[in-house]
Assembly symmetry: C2
Homo-oligomer: 119 residues x 2
């Protein structure tokens, strides 16, 4: 039985475990944007097309709970909160880059026109 339990969930493979950290529509685009510098909630929101408040909040919370990002609260009004990569989060960047490049290759292969942007 090469499977294992962690945080109330059963995983069958390391791949599944990796995807629990990076998978879904939003986690990688968020992490990617934090690689340069810390960002505020609304900066991320403006920079990531289509994401809703709810999704952004929930994904940030998941990334934080898995230790990939830091959340720093500035006690001012209106509120200010900054998100940044942890060391663990930085380790994800090359993986994301690999997947992104693969995605671009697939897009090329499929003959789709797509602007080479940031994620």
């Amino acid at each position: 039985m090469p499977e294992f339990f962690h945080d109330k969930r059963l995983y069958y493979t390391p791949i599944e475990f990796a995807l629990s950290h990076l998978g879904g529509t939003w986690k990688m685009p968020i992490l990617w944007r934090l690689q340069e510098k810390a960002q505020r909630f609304n900066e991320l929101k403006k920079d990531i097309p289509h994401i809703t408040d709810k999704m952004l909040t929930s994904q940030l919370r998941e990334l934080e709970s898995k230790g990939l990002i830091n959340r720093e609260i500035f006690p001012v009004i209106p509120p200010k909160v900054e998100y940044s990569l942890t060391k663990k989060g930085m380790k994800a960047i090359p993986i994301i880059e690999t997947i992104m490049k693969y995605g671009y290759d697939l897009i090329q292969d499929a003959g789709i026109e797509f602007p080479p942007k940031k994620a």
Copy 2:
């Protein structure tokens, strides 16, 4: 609008597109096992713990429709069908390897004991 339509679906990023090819619980474990040689349905089934007939069938169909694997039918009874990687499928292998290694790293990080097996 850096997003695009393809095959009746809307994608926002290359990452999403890549995950539509490799994402989910089963696609990468399946592809990984085809890298050495073609495999039959029941060989894959025995080699991939926990996968059900339905999941194996549906994932093989998806991989085939995206051009990552070939399906060869031998007209005998009982039926014999072999699955193998296409050139496009082979391009996915290094990506899967990267993700798998990352998964192992995360497992180490989390202090989980896990046997270094095949996917």
